[in-house]
């Protein structure tokens, strides 16, 4: 039996100390231990971006990241994007206003990528947006309205 280890994380502003196996993937710890199922598991092999979360402000693929490797980190998942009072982030509003959500399965990853992009580049060009999203697949929308929504958040 594998020995478990306690890791210390700040997830969406909340301090948590899940007990995890050495080979536990962050996506599983988030989804199963912490019951934050907004982070999606779509391919498990780093090819779709659906499992994207922000670790210390940087996007990572949680399906390729060991939970023990991010010990001590500050993690933002889709559940933490809206304000604590429930009001939506401008990116979330923009996704709704531009019809950028179809089945919604790629949406958490897309919104976190958008948050990352806008944090570094408050008014990204369309080209920059598309480049930034190149690792995030969406099978429903053809990306058009996702790009539009993110573009509308630029200042």
């Amino acid at each position: 039996m594998m020995t478990k280890r306690r890791v210390t994380l700040t997830v969406n502003g909340e301090h948590v100390e899940p007990l995890v196996e050495a080979n536990a993937l962050l996506v599983n710890v988030l989804r199963e231990e912490l019951q934050l199922t907004g982070t999606k598991y779509c391919c498990g092999t780093g090819q779709c971006g659906g499992c994207t979360v922000l670790v210390n402000g940087e996007p990572i693929l949680s399906c390729l990241t060991l939970a023990v490797a991010v010990d001590g980190a500050d993690i933002l998942t889709i559940e933490g994007v809206a304000k604590p009072d429930g009001s939506l982030d401008p990116i979330q509003e923009a996704f709704l206003d531009h019809g950028a959500v179809q089945c919604g399965f790629c949406t958490p990853g897309m919104i976190l990528m958008a948050k990352d992009l806008l944090a570094h580049d408050p008014s990204p060009s369309e080209e920059r947006i598309r480049e930034h999203l190149r690792g995030n697949l969406c099978r429903c929308t053809g990306y058009h309205r996702i790009v539009k929504a993110i573009g509308s958040c630029g200042q």
Partner: protein
Amino acid sequence: MNDDRFDVIGRVTRRQDGHAMVTGRQLYSSDISLPNMLQARVLRSPYPHARIAAIDTSEAERLGAVCITPEDVPRVKYNERQVSVPAKTYRDRTVLPDKVRHVGQGVVAVAARTEALADRALDALDVEFESLPAVFDPHEAMRDGAPQLHDAVLLGETVLPIERNIACYREAVEGDVARGLEEADLVVENEFTTGRAYHGQLESKAVVCRPEADGGITVWATAQSIHNTRQLLGSLFDIPLSKINVQRVPIGGSFGSSIQMNSSVAVCVALALKAQKSVKLVLTREEDMYDHCKYPSNIHLTYGVKRDGTLTAGYLKTVVDIGGHNIQAYPLLGCMAGWFVSLYRLPHLKFEGTAVYTNKAPACAMQGYGNPQVTFAVESMMDTIAEELDIDPIDVRLKNYVGLGETFWGQGPTVRSVIRSCGVEEMLLKGKAMVGWEGRGSSTSKTGRFRRGIGVGRGFHTSGTGAPTPGEVIDYSTAMVKINEDGSVDCLTALMCHGGGTLDAGAKMVAEELGVPLDRVGISPSNTRSTGYDVCTHATRGVYCGGASLLRAAQDVKKILFDFASRIIDVNPDALKVRPDTSRGQGVVCLPGAPAKRITVAEVAKTAQIKGWGSIIAVVSHRQVNCPPCFVVNFVEVEVDTATGQIRPMRAVAAVDAGTVINPDLAAGQLEGGLCRGIGLALLEDTTYKPDTGELTCGGYLTDYKVYTAQDMPSLEDLSTFFADTYEPSGPFGAKGVGEAANNATAGAVANAIYNAVGIRLTEAPITPERVLSALTRDAEQLQQGR
């Protein structure tokens, strides 16, 4: 786009389920977690064709896993898809097989406390396969002496021997094709293929099953039809339907991938029943890729045409490689005939379709159901005809398309109706102007390494499969609408939303009819125990058929509302109207012109409750007696790199004739998504197999399979969509569908654009750089030899 005839229909509104999706609160099947739930894994065949000689599960069981083998599951032969009437349903599979027919087919399943333990149990299984010769090419499979996948299957209750791996054959003839071709001034003929594209829905298929104390089960599954899932599970496991509750769960994209009850559902149920514990089974991406793919096509197409461009005859012959199991090849062939004959008027026609078993993943419906495949061939041929006769390609289409007032049988020979709304001409002419058609130039005028071309494609899909007479395919929906005591409204239906906004459209229709503000109309969570039958959300039927059932229930509810209101305000119910009063957030029942005769919907409902008149509620089962075509037109501009063979989509105009558009933003989103997948079918997507092992060449990896990313699509400025201005008399508020139509015309438009760029007709999709380069080389050689 705001339509003055309506309060909410046609207005851009936020989708109701959107908030949950952007905050991560939407729960999909794979997000369901139950107390004491076991995790399941499936041992899958490494062989494309093999008998299972021996199975030893003792070691896995010693580890504490619950195991099921073919011995432990019902031997009932079934078909995953339950949309056809029983007599037309081919049944060739069991929950677990005694012979595997493709790599990746499940053989033994285990369930254990954790995924890690389930994985260890999986490794501990000992299965002995006896490998059999396999066949991967449908033409080879039909040869004498080819490996035989199935000896016999069931058609309805009849045993049907299978010969030369032919799963089924269909023919349709009208007039005399030979005569039609004789009457022609020009006969054109070509062969076209499309690949076995993978659905690529972002959510890999998942299922959770909880055995209940009464011997029943509750199931959460990625499914497009909760009722068909329930009925199939009932017959497989011999459980009364009253004890099977299949929950409607949001689906992470579908595109047809869960039109059937996926094989993993029955496996999960069998495990849960044996373990008497809840079990969850989530497919890996690789497993999902081995589960299903699009029907590929191999089409031989001949047209006869008069000098003025009038078609005299058409003959389409197709062979479809369906893989290891027959899911819906028979209705598929009927539809392929339907798509063919309903695109362009053919005085004489013939269709012949053969579906063939091979040792590959079973093909099933994927957006368009044979339609993008047929339309790719037909639209390519329209351009060939135009070129040969020196007529503008748009004019050839305008001359021959099946339109207003004409008979149409898109869903196959048994589903005939007359077209009552048609925006084809409007879309072709408007799109032509938008794309700058006149300036596109001919391929001969284009030189240099990078060459651009513009192509047109048109097509359609049916809105559902309804018809005046019962046919081979079941089609109806059930809906319940009820007005609550505060004037808000609940809508209950088994209809699904795959992302396109079907349920939102339903809510809008109910809001419109009842005059209640949209935010007071809710779509209730639903399951098979609380809803009446709904065939399936497929065939672009959600809005037109499912929406119509909600509308009819709302109309019945309105009668009760007016009846109750008339008792309170003493007005004849026939004189009453109901309008939304947004300042009060209420619907108001009123007598126009009489300000004193007003009462809110809430007051009526509350009074009815207090006085004991009853709830304002209605349930309706509704079958549409038509399945009108939603027409589409695509214009696509591509750039061909003649040095590498790379093709890039640069610009596109996509239009749909969906009748009244209910959700403009979401409908446009369908067009954009459909275009992207359509270009994928044309240029990129196919699941190919290693000939020696029968394994997928892409190894189950999305990046090796390849789908388009945000970087590959035309820019915001270069992609436009628009809607034809039509009204479908048989549709709810004049609406038809969009869904599948959105990608049906695209591959043809792309191929035509390539022709316009380089003057070469490419007929094998995906039109990969290799295929482009070899065609360019061939062309150059022919030029050198003076043709």
